[in-house]
Subunit: 374 residues, 4 copies
């Protein structure tokens, strides 16, 4: 994640006409060798091994948190207290309680803040939001989302440590719920409003994995997979599912929204497309054109599609990394315009509430209210 | 449904080398004009308006039940008592209790019997079963199914009467659960074994519709939409969803099965394809060929694909109606071989149990055991 | 082909409200055993081994020619002289000269006649024609067609005899040009008007194959593959290609038409879809909606799509065999209405002219005028 | 193009472990204001308005030519004479004669040189080459390529001047042949060897357009569209087509290669996928697995796919701009390893020969030998 964020700061002013210019001051990693290597490759001015120094450094205006979830709260709160802007990787926190502390800290300090739910910034996803706002979907009935991967099927994959902290409950807080479903929930509530009730089931398919720090086989505490049913405040119904055991799905972050007047479909493995079904009988003035209806694949690479005027020519795709760049550009533009980009910490707190309710439902085996206020 | 079944009987001996020959003796419809019209178009020997006469007719060997669900039980039980073979449209019955009566009747009479879960007979679906049996999927983790349609979104669609009895609770027994999810459940348990527990939510989006028989606006009793989470006996997890409010989806009967060694995907709107992901590292003897893995679309029109040797040349598709023909051919072949084709009434009873558990869960708002024995 | 045509006659009155009723009188095959088997399976009244008897039989009104191309002319001319209606498989003849004789014969006799370019009757292809007629494509610029198969790649496939007469030049007249490109040309000129000039190249990849009749290795005379460039009378440009050596393509009969206002795409391996791109800026009255444009996949299974009101419900596909049934229904309806269905022999003669010009161009290595008059 | 190339130099050392470090010294544009703006956005050290100064500047090691085709030759030759490395945009030159001069200049000077046929560096295209080299395609039969766009359909699009020099024959040299087909030809010969003979047709659909420099309506000299048939040295056949009048196609740079053992398909609008059909009967040792064959979509985002180990995680796509970055990285790595990256000027000269032969064939209306030596 450090690479994707560094890349975004480096490229901000090549592509977006914002007034502020990003300067890469310091990278922090508890491993000094790694930090130094990062300085060399990405052009930071200096390396640090103690984040406390970073949050207190007078030459630093913004703290970007790309560390494991367990450390989000402490760094964010300290950064806010020191008057720094805060960009934080998702999920915001280990729990709603932590998230509330973080919201309080940034709001008390009055510092700009944002959570990196970067997939809102895929042009096709932003276009989906635009079509909803344009009233093209009508009364919503259904929302269904999946986020499927397959990289932990082998029992030989260890847990814990550097690249695999996401499998370690103490460091990650949860498994796919916080890592993947948090994205799905953020997108869902952005497009379709508050989720009010959920019933969930989680599963841990591989019960024990070698822990890289202890060197021993240890029980796996995270949810390998999670599925839940949801009720939305607008009366529509939702299904959500996430796993790292869906053989053949690498980054299958998909959603479908069905309304009375139209439907939308997106899949992150083909990120250049938004699929849209328009109910023609309502659209066409004089005559029924129902023989023409069909799911259309919108290749979202025209200048009129979100973000794309800043890039290349129609038909030329952007990639995964640009979602971070787009998010950063929105964040900076939000500071400059006085209309903060979303999701800020307060908005991300609502996603955290759904995550916590999902995990609580899975534990308790019953429907749970989320308490979301949107 | 009377047309699809009549068509199957008419064409059986053109395509399948079974010994028995289908003879269209009589069609029964309480509306004599309709019955007579049917005789003319489909070449039946005679029309009846009272099904009792039919089940007692000495020149009739098989009763094919294509009437609304509310009448399945009585006709099937009477037919069995009269020693007739029984082919019954799905869902088998209005409830598990009715279904049990029907199973008892056909088993006591010793008559061949089958339920028309015709989608098992799509060549691509039958191929899915074959790949499971060949061990190509490995340990199953996930199953997800949808059955999405969009034909009842308008509040102007009435309920009840001829073509719309499926919207009338008293005649249909349920809404999408019995009509559509029954198919999904039948396929799921055929491919992935028993569903043991479910938690469900149903919704009725349009609360009142004109009833065609009373001519009055009446409350809608059916479930317009139903979604549920499932646990399978083999330890895998399932999501199921069905609706008639998914704009743009006409007959989107889809399933995906993810296992350790491979995955399968099918969608009835493109019935010629089965999609298959094969985990190459397990398959290839000497070297890793992971740069070649991908979802492959198998165009199931070769002679080596299920049923296809009876039809045309590779690349030439069959259609919806052939699922009924294939089912009938299997039924007759099962009688001739002594190995009854599935699903018979006893097998379909298990699907009925899941349907009832789903509706009970939706009413009670909690997880429910299905009691399925497979 | 005998099976597909017999099937169409048998089912005509089940699906289409025409006045005439098809009666299967006699099947003719020089091999008596085969003819008898056919009588049994398809319910013909009698078998013949000499087609001369058939064309003279007083109880027969229509001759349906499903024999290898080399015999089309003689049978058709004799049938016409005897006052029979003639349905003929494509390509119409071995050459333009033969085709002209056949046109003269049916026109002199005044008998209804049709050539079985069945793919015009795929609902999606017929819808393509409808969209062209509705003016949705605008000024045409480009047409591109392929017809790709892969069944003759192995040198072990023999030529000649029963199932493989298509590889025998003396019996087939040509290879892929008459067998596959004739379809592509017929569709192209139906959708986009006359082809006026062509330049072509053919290839025979496997130079010798065992001949099933002689039992010897013989030179292969047919074109295994053929590609050509075309000029249309309307000023648009076309590319055409056909082969039986495109590994992985079974029946890839595709076309794309690009016009100023819209584009169409079809592929016979997914026959339920017509893909349509509509240029929105011309369509929308008040504002540019170019952010919504995209290729839409029209699932051509609604009652408002060509032929589909005679079949099942939306979302339920028909298959390969129904193209023959639809063609027959059009033929009979044409007789009843007095507006003959197309392509009749005269229309198919124009396709023959293009085929001959293509083969001449390939031989001569230069552009050739087709002489098409449409 | 200046932006894509600048972006590549800026990011080279963030992603690729090459020894050399790119330093952005100077940008040259005859319009000083534009050059200065570019300096500001992209971080160049200085701006120039005269390219002669640039090619002579002692602090500059590499000249990157992103100007209209008409100026390629002079700049490249001058740069080479001054001992600079040269990276040149495609097509290499206005003609074979010019290209030969350029080859002579760089070879005489002994300077590293490369032509920016960037689409070879799409990971999926590079994977296609790898599969050919691994012998997975077998004897090749067919190659078909299209490069379709739709941005010049309106007669209101002017020609000439800044953004539209590609429509001005004197500046561009040709229309789609040099601009788009050059890409298709480069890829084709990389994958399938030399093209030896062609027959072509070009068309100019809009005969006159306003010229932005003269302000007058002027005749359009370029080819709006071009299609040709090709013979390859290896005995396979090819079709090629390019246009800017294919409504709905934005950047449809596609190719398909069919061989005895497998087939490949790629389309630049879905650049993350390579489609591959593997003929299973040849692959599987013990048994026929032909029921499993199908076109598989390889999502080329794994570490084992070309270039991808330098980027993100499996499932995370890269975009259009990375093709330039990958090309640059190969160029630099080629210098460091002593094995020059391709296509260098000499290799690109062969593509130029085919382009010239295509245009000559279109003018003369006959087959033309290309003279390609590969």
């Amino acid at each position: 994640m450090g690479r994707t964020h560094s890349n975004a700061y480096l490229r901000l002013n090549n592509f977006f006409p914002v007034e502020h210019r990003a300067v890469l001051k310091a990278i922090c990693d508890s491993d000094a060798a790694k930090a130094n290597k990062f300085v060399e490759v990405w052009g930071y001015e200096r390396a640090e091994t103690d984040w406390q120094k970073l949050v207190e450094a007078p030459d630093i205006d913004l703290i970007d948190i790309c560390v494991p979830n367990v450390a989000h709260r402490d760094i964010a709160v300290a950064a806010a207290r020191n008057g720094k802007m805060v960009m934080c990787e998702k999920p915001l926190a280990m729990s709603v309680a932590e998230a509330q502390e973080m919201v309080a800290a940034v709001e008390k300090a009055g510092v700009p803040n944002m959570v990196s739910f970067n997939y809102r910034r895929v042009p096709a996803v932003a276009l989906a939001r635009q079509l909803v706002e344009e009233g093209r979907i009508g009364r919503p009935f259904h929302y269904r989302a999946t986020y499927l991967q397959d990289w932990t099927i082998s029992p030989d994959v260890p847990q814990g440590g550097d690249a695999l902290w996401r499998l370690d409950l103490r460091v990650a807080g949860s498994g796919v719920t916080g890592d993947l479903l948090a994205h799905s929930i953020d997108t869902a509530m952005w497009l379709n409003g508050a989720i009010t009730r959920v019933v969930a089931k989680t599963e841990t398919f591989i019960k024990e994995r070698m822990h890289q720090l202890s060197g021993k086989l240890e029980a796996v505490g995270i949810d390998d997979a999670c599925m839940f049913l949801a009720e939305f405040a607008n009366g529509s119904m939702g299904t959500f599912e996430s796993t790292r055991y869906a053989r053949g799905r690498k980054n299958y972050n998909s959603f479908e929204l069905n309304g009375a007047d139209g439907s939308l479909y997106f899949d992150l493995e083909e990120p250049e497309y938004l699929q849209f079904f328009e109910y023609q009988q309502l659209q066409s003035g004089k005559k029924t054109e129902s023989h023409l209806t069909g799911w259309r694949k919108i290749h979202t690479t025209n200048a009129e599609h979100p973000y794309m005027k800043h890039y290349w020519v129609p038909g030329a795709t952007i990639g995964y990394e640009h979602t971070f760049l787009n998010a950063l550009a929105d964040f900076v533009a939000g500071i400059e315009s006085g209309k903060p980009a979303q999701p800020d910490f307060r908005n991300a707190l609502e996603t955290q509430k759904v995550c916590d309710a999902v995990l609580e439902s899975a534990r308790a085996g019953r429907w749970v209210e989320t308490g979301v206020e949107l």
